[in-house]
Assembly symmetry: none
DNA sequence: GTGGTCTAGACCACG
DNA sequence: GTGGTCTAGACCACC
């Protein structure tokens, strides 16, 4: 499992962890019933408090991404795993939250499309 | 001037006000040297605290959207008015903040494009 | 608002608080948009940690009983208020959790009914 | 002897085992001086740790449901066997633990009675 | 004043 | 070893 946190972002640490793990579950990178690393292990690795990791895991449990068994560990739920449907619903939800902002700026659909093309090609050049 | 605030959103009130006024300045809806309504008037009309409005106006001043003359009022800066350049920069910045999320979900550029087409056509049906 | 906690019970404090507040919302004792006492006030009154109360309030928010506004307070959601439907669903859920236990003991329906009659008349004598 | 454990429940494994064996003793399904299967046998059959089964057996011994002879095995106590009195006391105790919850919800005795009728008829349709 | 986030550290229950 | 609960105390953002 791969988690990167950025202390300089304004986003809470536990939210960053939540987003990355949930995304990996949805993408199928983490199979059903996979045992997540313990909260203590994650806290140690990332150099943050156990409580912060616990909060992220609690959110995952609340949203049915994982189930936790005291004394055993935290495991990936089968229901949310590897679903294209869920991926698209989440992406749409996120996009919708920002639409008002773009419309306030009178950004047309075409402008937005070309911006996306630009940003995707940028990050394509960086990653591979 | 037109401001709508939504108490149920989790976005700070002052940020909602800031975003809407700044957008109206950039779009040219508020011309250079236009005199904004007083802090008290806005607070009264929206039914919120004067302090909250003051904070929004302060942000506008810090970001050079307006200038204030003590005892006179707050006025729109000419430099930021009606600039296509700024509109696009702001939109790009906002989009960039969300790119990691989409890439985590393995959302392809094509999927994102079609989502945008969908959401824009939805809201086109509502507005006009 | 009235909350009683019992440290000797094996039930977590935050769960006790959660149950009592949610019940009062469902019963309509707390009307929609009612502002709950602040977590600090409750913590002080009950002599427990702020964090414990916060956890109870978080559960209430997760289950849509309340909504919280940073800097303002926590308010009762309209949707869960005063619903006979919900009262019965919750009671059924709770009862169902214990049914296996009774059936393991070969407790018949009639025995259970008479037990209930007995316990209700007991507590009727105490309360009024 | 028949034991079913459910890993997805939040009830401790040892408690699930304890409840089921004690109920079978009370019901007379396990006669006095009956020799329970060994801790290791149970652990093996259920695929759980020996320690967990040991804890359940210890609870049974503490509550006088069984007696253990080192090197020989664990045997059902005569005193708790097949007692209607005990069955009812246990059921009453369990019911009492949940009464506050129902009273908080303003569930009347009649509502509770009809809920029980409903749940019992449901499970009657499933079992036989 | 309000809630939000994060910390360090403790003790307990479970396996 | 695991997670569950609770504590005290800190700093921040918001109103």
């Amino acid at each position: 499992m791969n988690i990167v946190i950025n202390n300089k972002l304004n986003k809470p640490l536990y939210e960053q962890i939540y987003e990355q793990i949930s995304a990996q579950i949805i993408n199928g990178d983490l199979p059903p019933d996979y045992c997540l690393p313990s909260i203590r292990a994650v806290a140690l690795e990332l150099g943050i408090s156990v409580i912060t990791v616990k909060k992220a895991y609690e959110m995952l449990e609340n949203n049915k991404f994982i189930y936790t068994r005291a004394g055993k560990g935290c495991f990936v739920q089968a229901t949310k795993s590897s679903s294209n449907e869920i991926r698209r619903v989440l992406a749409e939800e996120r996009l919708r939250q920002n639409l008002d902002y773009f419309r306030n700026l009178n950004i047309t659909q075409d402008e937005l499309q070309s911006l996306i093309t630009k940003l995707y090609s940028e990050s394509d050049n960086k990653k591979p």
